[in-house]
């Protein structure tokens, strides 16, 4: 750090920006993108729809007195209709937010703060997204009770456990639709029925499911749903929250202001990116079947070929009840970080939190009961609309070579091949 500040002092202030600028490419070639659960590239059709709202139609959607405002408002309302159409909701039930994280916060904290002190209990699962778990932790510190439901070995919530956990003072159940790490699909219709029969509000984080799998808020009896824009080839920084109007879901707003978005989320609407979200939703509705067919074909090819060519590979999560674009594979005797370094031609995510300060494996894999040696060597491979078969073939080839190379270097693998029983080994040195 000292050397950098010395350079800054010697040169003029303007050169600092050139030090951090992107004018010179840092990398020679781009890695193939296999991290669609983290984010997705903005579809060119979405960008095309957004650009006029950033160039000419720049008005504030709440300006009611001139054409600039009316134009922006028109774009926003059209986007609202597209988003609601995809989930069979009414456009008035869609609230635009800055993303699924904000939607989750509003849903959980807003509903429970409104129901306080009559209802003090929240039920969620152990494999929820961090923002849901952190919101629940905050509620716990404020005196609420939270039950974190365990999941079965296949990642799906046990409905019996959910029924047992329901108390007279349960106000909200929050279970995500598709998990971002393992891709399992929860039984939302059954959970919705249980919640409706017990008069409990049902919130679902559908950031990974919206626009990818069919959703019907009435059929699944969903009261609140979080939506993310950048997971469905839309722009980053926008999301939505579906808030049911019949029967009415009441909640206390987190953000105070001019009362926009039914008073639930005040603030000027970012019309360009909302228009982008609407267009992404419209495209998703038209392309869902075709995309899913393609992605399933590619995912099946990936899983079957990898399992055929290398032994001791485990697919985490249920095989059938999943979104096929999220493949989480664990490789025994091949460490996760080394595997990622060998696959530098691909943009991937590891199943463990190795990049964070702690060396603990991912809490999702731990909740599944995946043993530590598998959890440390897991890869999350994300497939999407723009993945090609050629990329999959290249990936399979490189992955197989990397895993074989790592296992050759692994003394533990040699011991496994010799038939050593690891449970009988005393690892401590005397």
């Amino acid at each position: 750090m000292l050397s950098i500040s010395k350079i800054a002092i010697k040169k003029s202030p303007l050169s600092l920006s050139s030090y951090f600028s992107n004018t010179k490419p840092r990398y020679k070639l781009r890695s193939h993108y296999f991290d669609f659960q983290a984010t997705s590239p903005t579809d060119p059709r979405v960008l095309d729809k957004m650009l006029p709202y950033m160039i000419t139609k720049q008005g504030n959607a709440h300006s009611k007195t001139h054409m600039h405002g009316w134009e922006a408002e028109g774009g926003v309302e059209e986007a609202r209709a597209h988003v609601s159409d995809l989930i069979h909701a009414d456009p008035k039930e869609i609230i635009f937010t800055s993303g699924a994280t904000e939607s989750n916060n509003i849903a959980i904290k807003g509903v429970m703060n409104f129901l306080n002190p009559m209802k003090k209990h929240v039920i969620t699962s152990q494999i929820e997204h961090k923002c849901v778990l952190e919101s629940c932790k905050l509620l716990e510190s404020k005196g609420f009770d939270v039950t974190y439901l365990p999941v079965q070995r296949n990642g799906i919530v046990d409905l019996g456990e959910l029924k047992k956990a329901i108390r007279p003072d349960t106000g909200l159940v929050s279970i995500m639709g598709v998990n971002n790490e393992i891709g399992v699909l929860q039984p939302l219709k059954e959970i919705g029925n249980i919640c409706r029969s017990n008069k409990i509000k049902f919130h679902t984080d559908c950031a990974q499911m919206f626009g990818k799998l069919p959703l019907d808020v009435n059929d699944m009896k969903i009261d609140l749903m979080s939506i993310s824009g950048h997971k469905i080839y839309g722009p980053k920084g926008v999301g939505a929250l579906y808030v049911r109007r019949r029967p009415r879901v009441r909640l206390l707003a987190l953000q105070s202001g001019g009362g926009q978005e039914r008073g639930i989320r005040s603030g000027t609407l970012p019309s360009p990116i909302i228009v982008g979200l609407g267009e992404a939703a419209r495209i998703a509705k038209n392309e869902m079947q075709r995309d899913n067919k393609r992605i399933k074909k590619l995912a099946d090819k990936l899983i079957s070929q990898v399992m055929e060519k290398i032994p001791l590979v485990q697919l985490n999560g249920d095989k059938e009840q999943r979104y096929h674009g999220c493949v989480n594979l664990s490789f025994a005797f091949a460490e996760g970080e080394s595997l990622l370094m060998n696959l530098k031609d691909f943009a991937l995510s590891s199943g463990s939190a190795c990049t964070s300060a702690s060396l603990e494996p991912s809490y999702v894999l731990r909740a599944l009961g995946v043993p530590d040696e598998y959890a440390h060597s897991s890869l999350r491979i994300g497939l999407g609309r723009f993945t090609t078969e050629q990329e999959i073939d290249f990936f399979i080839e490189t992955l197989v070579t990397s895993v074989e190379r790592l296992r050759e270097m692994s003394p533990l693998y040699d011991m496994y091949l010799e038939g050593v029983d690891f449970t009988k080994i005393n690892w401590s040195h005397d």
Binding site: Y27, L29, R30, H32, P44, R290, F386
Partner: protein, 111 residues
């Protein structure tokens, strides 16, 4: 020679013929669809981004092949499909241009 003014009958005959001719010439033929498919695939091949290029090419081929094989007789559906694909072609042309304005490095394995 006496000049006779056109009667109501003549007007309605002319109107009917014009509508008939309009409908005949606005009918979208398979040849036109094939031409539009060829143009769309050509334009999509100009994307600088590998993933977009492959996706839009494959999508154009799939959509047009599926539609042409269906042999849709309802002219309205055919016109709707043709108009939708035409507007998408405009989008592709604009986005190809934008991609060229912001060039990036190639992917590791490009054809």
């Amino acid at each position: 020679m006496s000049l006779t003014l056109p009667t109501q009958k003549t007007f309605s005959f002319l109107q009917n013929t014009t509508t008939l001719l309009k409908n005949h010439f606005s009918k979208i033929t398979t040849k036109q669809l094939e031409e539009l498919k060829k143009t769309t695939v050509e334009e999509a091949s100009k994307f600088t981004n590998y993933n977009f290029r492959e996706y839009f090419k494959e999508r154009a081929n799939d959509l047009f092949d599926d539609f042409i094989s269906k042999n849709e007789t309802n002219e309205e559906y055919v016109k709707q499909f043709y108009d939708d694909r035409k507007s998408e072609l405009e989008v592709i042309k604009r986005q190809v241009l934008i991609g060229k304005l912001y060039p990036e490095q190639k992917f590791v394995k490009e054809n």
